[in-house]
């Protein structure tokens, strides 16, 4: 059976509607593609999460060769999007990239399962974030 891959707009429609402030519902077990942030513990640092779809596309016909599989990447590591979906907050691509950069450049962001103590070292003005 011939199947066309889902378009980018269709896959990301929910995420774009949420960013635009339109009324959207985050149904348990039904993750949507897009960029998000997540906190593992109360007071902990935000972790960048990306939900995307993995698919095998036939280069000759452009059709799907198998089912589209929804995947997640949390702080650069593969993750299952279903159990974390209702804890995710949608963010823009620019904010997602800025959060990734923060995790790369600030050591205190690495302890993601511990509340962040902002009093240990003062937060300085950002250098080159968006």
């Amino acid at each position: 059976m011939m199947r066309q891959p889902s378009s980018f707009m269709r896959l990301h429609q929910w995420w774009k509607d949420a960013l635009a402030g339109l009324a959207t519902e985050q149904h348990d077990g039904l993750p949507e593609c897009g960029c998000y942030k997540l906190r593992y513990v109360k007071g902990g640092p935000f972790v960048p999460v990306r939900i995307f779809v993995l698919r095998d596309i036939d280069p000759d016909t452009g059709e799907l060769q198998g089912p589209e599989r929804i995947m997640a990447e949390a702080n650069g590591l593969p993750a299952d999007p279903v159990p974390i979906w209702t804890y995710l907050r949608p963010i823009s691509r620019a904010d997602y990239d800025a959060l990734v950069e923060m995790h790369r450049s600030e050591d205190r962001m690495s302890a993601t399962n511990v509340a962040l103590d902002l009093s240990l070292t003062p937060t300085l003005p950002p250098r080159s974030y968006a």
């Binding site: 800025a98 103590d117 902002l118 009093s119 240990l120 070292t121 003062p122 937060t123 300085l124 003005p125 950002p126 974030y129 968006a130």
Partner: protein
């Protein structure tokens, strides 16, 4: 071969000891020193933030929010240390206050009862002195009138000796009046029997009783206490949840936005 002693080899004499130099500090200095270091780090970072002059991006605003959150938490830690370091001294002070409370209360009660006992006696003495002053004034007025009559009579007969006597009589009347006034002013005061106690005076105090609040207000409306009280009452009204924005006569409402 001996080595020559240099002046730098000789230790300086220790500073002279003063009273209290061996006393332990009132609190542990080390935690405060650590907190001080962190506070100074935040102060330096605050200078970097102020160098920006204004916030221009969302990222700067978000990072500044983190800075403020960290500074607030650190302030909380300093305040917690403050409370903990002061607690033993506070408890000691409270124990001393509690121990002194009862004897002070008893002494105050004894004194107030004794003052209440002596007050009627003092008032009676004051009334008697005022009555004596009234009689002296009356006598002095008669003496003065007599002196004026004698003065007129001496003037008619060119009696110089009579004039001088009349003036002396008038002067005596004035002196007796003044002496009576001085006695009345100090009347009611009771001196110590032994000489070792303070004199207890009879003091007159005045207290206002408001018969008409609006009329009384007009008399004191410019007083700083009254202006401050009106300001506080108005602020309480316009900041209350039930305030509906209705205009208040004589008042204009200013609004300003501040970060908190």
């Amino acid at each position: 071969m001996t080595v020559a002693t240099r002046p730098s080899d000789v230790a300086l004499a220790p500073p002279p000891a003063v009273i209290g130099h061996n006393m332990a500090p009132a609190f542990d200095q080390e935690p405060l020193a650590l907190l001080d270091t962190r506070i100074n780090d935040f102060a330096a970072a605050g200078g970097e933030w102020l160098d920006l002059k204004e916030i221009a991006t969302d990222a700067q605003a978000a990072h500044l929010t983190d800075f403020i959150a960290g500074a607030r938490k650190l302030k909380g830690e300093v305040e917690a240390w403050h409370r903990a370091a002061k607690a033993p001294h506070l408890e000691g002070g409270r124990a001393v206050d509690a121990a002194a409370k009862s004897p002070v209360a008893v002494a105050e009660r004894v004194i107030s009862r004794a003052l209440a006992l002596i007050s009627p006696w003092q008032s009676q003495k004051k009334r008697e002195a005022e009555e004596r002053e009234r009689l002296v004034r009356q006598a002095a007025a008669e003496k003065l009138a007599e002196a004026q009559r004698l003065a007129r009579q001496a003037a008619e007969h060119n009696d110089i000796a009579g004039e001088v006597a009349a003036e002396a009589l008038a002067k005596q009347a004035v002196q007796e009046t003044r002496a009576a006034e001085r006695v009345t002013a100090g009347a009611g005061a009771v001196q110590s029997a032994s000489g070792g106690g303070r004199t207890i005076a009879l003091v007159t105090t005045r207290t206002a009783q408001i018969d008409n609040i609006l009329v009384a207000f007009m008399a004191v409306r410019d007083h700083p206490y009254v202006v401050e009280a009106i300001q506080r009452a108005l602020n309480e009204r316009i900041r209350s949840k039930d305030f509906n924005g209705a205009a208040i006569p004589g008042v204009s409402i200013k609004t300003e936005e501040k970060a908190r």
